[in-house]
Amino acid sequence: MRRALTEPPLVRGALLAVALVFLAIFLVMPLVAVFAQALEKGFGAYLTALREPDAWAAIRLTLLTAAIAVPMNLAFGLAASWAIAKFEFPGKGTLLTLIDLPFAVSPVISGMIFVLLFGRQGLLGPFLGAHDVKVIFAVPGIVLATVFVTFPFVARELVPVMQALGNEEEEAARVLGAGGWQIFFRVTLPNVKWGVLYGVILCNARAMGEFGAVSVVSGHIRGLTNTIPLHVEILYNEYNFQAAFAVASLLAFLALVTLLAKSVVEWRSGRAARPEAPVREAA
């Protein structure tokens, strides 16, 4: 099929080549390098590096952080997008802007805000000290920083989806006698499930990979407050390249899984959202 806008084959080929070279240099090569470095001393050394107690502690902490941050942001994202899409209330625009805040602020600043709030010299420091609660340089601080940095993902994904769906199906459910929770679980949620999943995948990837904000609040205590990204940095600074890349390969692997899951979701949701064209005409 000839399109109206057709470039000469040479131009098309050149553009494609530029794109591919760019991809190869900036995406494929680093990925290959990570795995190559990780496996440099053989598979045995690779496994040893991952089994090392501090590395294992970092993996556990990262999983724990994601296991807390992702469900929290899922709940927040659903609530916020529901409210924004389905209701009119004062301050709606402000709420939308606030949701974007973590995207706009450098993660390092986010981390410092938490230090200022919860640190020993911070606003709530004396109160927390008096009750013997440690937030900064401890797991709660890491979770807080991660939640803050990742909270736009689910909400941002769902607001346009819910807005596009409108209110009619919910109204229909109400007229048919459904209660608020029934409407949410039987009508609203099934309609946005792919959007939810997409948001969760991105949110999880960011929660596990977050470096800046977590670095500020963590204190880098080996085996206690190091997440995977922080542990990679420590190993790297100690010139333990093979171990650093072995741990880093976990994040690279996570990235690949995320991309795969993302394409599957996009493919499925694309099928679910196929146009409502009549298949046959009969009355």
């Binding site: 199906e169 109204e171 007229v175 009355a283």
Partner: protein, 368 residues
């Protein structure tokens, strides 16, 4: 179950969608709310359903005030303009929804739900599509699924918002006959909203004509067509020729027509008024047939089934639509550009009320 709406008003910001409206729908009737867009008909329907809360006024079902009753417990069947089918559910699940969400105590058994849903799908002739998704259905099929879903909860009233609005012409006609037959079978008190006068006159027992949030007239299709209460109803329902002018001292002076008696206004003070006639109520002749008419130039003649539609221009440049029978047209032997004498057999004269009234300030051009 009868519906009564008493002095209901609904405002959206500064816009008054429904302005002190009262109307009664007797049990078992099929009533059309007819009006142009923005006339408040859909708002009124949503207020009856309980989807909107009126700012003032009361809705009664069978004499019972519904103000404190949530839409969930009103037992209304509502068919949305764009059907609002649950897109992730099959046709069967859509229809079963209202039964499945009932509290456990009043929820029918799985087998009962199945039987009930299949009965309803048979009623709307769609039992063979039970496992399809809404996206796989045609517009007419979706419409009938929406209807079956609304009927599944055994509603006491059925409300339909532009039920045929998004269908193409042929399916629209079939479906509205079908809806009329269905209503004759189940005799459920029903109200439907439409902007299509033909649809309202064809289907409804009674028509409520609305304009700018108010009711212009309530009556049978024949009443609103033959005896329109206001110039708006006259021009909105069916075509009409308009002769603008004044009334004064018991006479009406309308356009190029000769003066006619108008005993309803004996004042010596002149008031603006307009006379209206349906296209088939205008007589066209070659000679000045006893006076009382006007000379107009034939612009176009188009045969349309049993009648011939003539378009003429009066001396002031206004356009006149006339319908004559084929025989009359042949007897007339008139060519384009010829002068013909046009005389209304019947003329409805409306005196314009104060400028602040709701009647249109200037009568609208005849509708196509």
């Amino acid at each position: 179950m009868s519906i009564e709406v008493r002095n209901v008003t609904k405002k959206f910001g500064t816009f008054t969608a429904v302005d002190d409206v009262s109307v009664t729908v007797p049990a078992g009737e099929l009533v059309a709310l007819l009006g142009p867009s923005g006339s408040g008909k859909t708002s009124l329907l949503r207020i009856i359903a309980g989807l909107e809360t009126p700012d003032a006024g009361i809705v009664f079902f069978e004499g019972e005030d519904q103000a404190q009753r949530d839409v969930r417990v009103r037992r209304v069947g509502f068919v949305f303009q764009h059907y609002a089918l649950f897109r992730h559910m099959t046709v069967f699940e859509n229809v079963a929804f209202g039964l499945r969400v009932r509290p456990r105590a009043s929820r029918p058994s799985v087998a009962d739900i199945r039987a009930k849903v299949m009965d309803l799908l048979k009623l709307v002739q769609l039992d063979w599509l039970a496992d399809r998704r809404p996206s796989e259905l045609s517009g007419g099929q979706r419409q009938r699924v929406a209807l079956a879903r609304a009927l599944a909860v055994e509603p006491k009233v059925l409300l339909l918002d532009e039920p045929f609005g998004s269908l193409d012409a042929r399916i629209r006609q079939e479906l509205r006959r079908w809806l009329r037959r269905l209503h004759d079978d189940i005799r459920l008190t029903s109200v439907f909203v439409t902007h299509d006068q033909e649809e309202a006159l064809d289907v409804a027992d009674r028509v409520v004509v609305m304009n700018r949030g108010r009711i212009e007239q309530i009556g049978t299709p024949q009443e609103v067509f033959e005896h329109p209460a206001t110039p708006f109803v006259m021009t909105f329902i069916g075509q009409s020729a308009v002769f603008a002018g004044t009334v004064q001292g018991g006479k009406a002076f309308l356009g190029s027509l000769a003066a006619v008696d108008f005993p309803a206004h004996l004042h010596e003070e002149a008031r603006p008024a307009a006379g209206y006639a349906r296209p088939h109520e205008l007589e066209v002749t070659r000679i000045e047939n006893g006076g009382g008419g006007l000379w107009a130039t034939l612009r176009h003649a188009s045969p349309a089934g049993a009648v011939v539609k003539l378009e003429l221009t009066d001396p002031e440049g206004g356009s006149l639509q006339v319908e004559v029978t084929r025989e009359q047209h042949e007897a007339l032997q008139a060519g384009v550009g010829e002068s013909l004498y046009v005389k209304p057999r019947k003329l409805r004269i409306f005196v314009q009320e104060d400028a602040t009234s709701d009647a249109p300030d200037t009568p609208r051009a005849p509708r196509a």
